[in-house]
Amino acid sequence: MIATKKKKGVYSPIKTPLDVILLSIIFQPLVIQEWRNFKKILFNDRNQLFGTFAGLFIFIFMILFCHESQRENAAIFLKKCFPHINWITLSFADVIRFGLQSFWLMTIQTQTASAALSFDLKMILNIFNLITSFIFLPFTAISKGFGFVLTKIEKASENYQDKFDPKYYLLGIFFLSMVCLTVPFNISAQIAFIFMLWLVAMIARTITGNLPKLILISLSLTVSTRYLWWRYTSTLNIDSSVDIFFGVILICAETYTWLILLLGYFQTAWPLQRKPTPLPEDTTLWPSIDIFIPTYNEDLSIIKTTTLAALSMDWPEYKLHVYILDDGRRPEFGEFAKEVNAGYITRDNNRHAKAGNINQALVKTNGEYVAIFDCDHIPVRSFLQMTMGWFLRDKKLALIQTPHHFYSPDPFERNIGNFKKTPNENTLFYGVVQDGNDLWNASFFCGSCAILHRDRLLEVGGIAVETVTEDAHTALRLHRKGYTSAYINVVQAAGLATETLSAHIGQRIRWARGMAQIFRVDNPLLGKGLTIGQRLCYANAMIHFLGGIPRLIFLLAPLGFLYFHSYLIYAPTTEILLYALPVIVHSSIASSYMQGKYRYSFWAEIYETVLAWYIARPTTVALINPKIGTFNVTAKGGLIKDEFFDLTISKPYLFLIVLNLLGIGAAIYRYFLGPDNEHGTVFINFAWTAYNLLVLGGAISVAQETRQVRTQHRIEVDTIVSIRKKSGHLICAKMEDYSGSGLGLRIDSNVLNFERNEQVHILISRGNREFVFPARITNVNKGFLGVLFENFTKQQELDYIQCTYSRSDAWATWRTDFKQDKPLTSIKAIIGVGFHGYIVLARTLPKFITHPFLLLGMTIAFIRSLLPKNISDTPTTFDVR
């Protein structure tokens, strides 16, 4: 009877737990109370035999060795320092985790650990630091010395006035480098050589400045040119026809890569980093500007924001005209334009798509300058003031381009889940490449967020219509006429990224095809009017898109040996490693140094692999016959209702994966059943295949489309606003994000009196003015409020956009949030992404195939869970102050 009652929980007698009894034998009640508190925080009062006694062990240890003040926060400290241990359900594996993590904290993360413990570890730390600094002493000394010398040289070269004839220098450098590149070394000499170069590179990368950058570039070029020389002269097996067939294909791909590397270094070696130029005080001297917003099939809501933002740019009102160029000829767009006092231009055909649309509008308007915004690119109010100064300063200027910035994640970012954590694909181009182009007066037009000089544009016949990348082609023509261009690397507009991977690939196919078309139709290396720098920059931009086929060759190259037993690189294993590894190491050191914040190491592998298959065919076709192919509009602002795996788009990759997996099988076969002297070659090809599989896995994981349910993207901010309740109370709040329709607000969690569907007003200030917006609360959750705007008047719509999207500082902090690249961390991330691809794949396959893989994956995950973790700082809570 009693037993059943117990089960039902009608009553249960208060039972003293065993651990408390044990403790109370030795310790006083005060300590018992402390133990109870400790247990409550750590185990949430749940009794569990093993966990409790493990906890008890730690507790007794603490009682004996720690001061009372430290014991107070001990439980929280344990939770913080051992984030991967779930104290409530302890298991025996946690003992290993505990041990490893303790060791980790004691040796590596000493600083954080002592901070968390509020325990003075200075003595131990100092000894540890002393040892490490002693080991690195020679290294640091050299680095410091070099840095000092280099800065001196840089300063001296700035003041260097004498004219010198560069011919002799170039001749000297040429002979020296020829010796460097072509002299064959035996193995020990080569080892010494690459070791010296590596040492210099490791020292140079610790120093900031332009000279160390040039040193790294020359080192990288030295080893890669040397590699190519070696490949051409001593690794082609002429005796075997199969070998020479595959060998020549591979060497062509390698030559292409070398060329791209060379041109890339040339292009980005010295970014100009142009600063905005102030405008004259007298606003009557400011030129008149027409703003074009071309649209074809986008939603009115997207156009609305952009148009209103364009209308509220800081510029004399009578000198600023906004036009919506509607190729869709939709009457509601015309009405909207009329309402907000913007121009509305249509035409009776859609010839040449966007280029034709703009050309048509050029005829119908007459401002001195034309600014072009894609319909989703919302300019900030300072856009014109930041850019126009250069037009007044440089009388030959025809074009100013600013970066394209996306406030929504692109398919890579969304599907991999690294939005705002890793710089996206775009960042490299707008962060480094365009700035590098600018030095050679070769920064080109990117179709949006740019200003063009109308007369000069008309002089080259308006926007070029011969190719599908009208923007780059137009810029090329302007440059041929002798006009200059400028790039200002300050984000002054933001837009939507493409939604799906297929759309993204579609857009890139268009770019690739267009660039290949220009290369055929109007080759920058030929023709009049360009400087050598411009020729090379344009050529790189175009040749870069021809990378599809070489990339595919690399993805298949190791199979040549594994399948057909063909020696693509006819050389001993050690020699291959000694020549090839330095190329990889030096190019990644140099690119990491140059691109640091804008592209993390090795991410390019994934970006390029995804595109390789798709751009291979169109570029080849365009090179043969540039007239084939049509213009496709990039779709933006769509929804993805359900998570899905894009099988169609990933088919080529699945095919490549199968081939490479078979290659792995062949490698195992050859290792165990082939001749002994081939083990080295098998190993190299195996490693190469494994790497290819990893990158292909990355491509697969991008094809897993995650859900995208919001129609309006939320943009994170950090601004203080006020909420006015109906009762007249004003509550202070922090605006955490905004979208076109609502806000996310953080309030003090003590404020409880908010209800769903409550009508409120939101007060947002901008500059020294304040605006009030009517809203309704849609979501109340522990200090977080979601509000939706209601019943905006036209004026309020304009005010709201001025308070949010078009604030001058709206995108100012975006890029600075990225940390400097760490190649090793980046490799880890890439491996994670690659593995994730296979997990995605496993989910779509039948169970009996995936089961062993899942088991393997679980084992790996378990082993990973044992490894020590970094302690991150706990997120700070909102404070009104």
Binding site: I720, S722, G728, L730, I731, C732, I747, L763, E770, R881
Partner: protein, 254 residues
Amino acid sequence: MRVLCVQGLQAGVGGSTISANLARMLLELNQKVLVFDLNPNNLLRLHFNMDWQNSVGWALNLTQKKLWCAAFECEHGISFLPFGQLTYQTHQRLIVEYLDDNKLHYQLNSLDLSPETWLILNISSDINLLNKQALALSNFILRVFEPSVANLSLLINSMQSNYIVNDAELSNKSFFVINKLIPHSELDHEMTLVFKNLLLNKLLPINIHFDESIKEAFAHKTTVNIHAPTSTAVREFRTLAIWLMSYFNRLEQP
């Protein structure tokens, strides 16, 4: 001693409220504060939880020939000197018999405050003997007004000729702050812009909004940072206090 004088442009614009809240906020920012009520309305004490019936104050003490400086300290540690509840006759007697041109100066000296202490003088909106002394003795005059048409008219009139405007020294150290700005009133925002154009840098960059919490705090006989710590008003008073602190820091630097 940092002497701050708070005066409303007209009665009822919230001079006493701002004095009290500002004092509390300065205290919260670890400043030493003494609030001296020179306004015969004797309202300031009510912000500091003094009994309704308690009529004690420095002016009353003076007329009763007691020790005049009877300071009070309320539960949150603020020191204040109430005016005292005077009848019409005693008030007249105070003016005639007890106040002279140097009375306040003498009084402040006898308080013997340390140099880092803030002394907040809350004075009425008219110009009388006591107010003249307070204005002359202060380092900073904070003039409070509402963004209303009436206040605009008052301000424009006073700019042509006024006790403060006519004295260069006084007008140099006087600044304006907008109180009771109604957030959803379009007119108020328009008026704010008008005032901004009129007063330029004499208008402090902080506006105090009309907030129910301020009224409620007064009804609870306390200040708003204690009654409603999460309200916008608290942030506004804090910004105001910090602005004043930095102003004085700059002033005191050699």
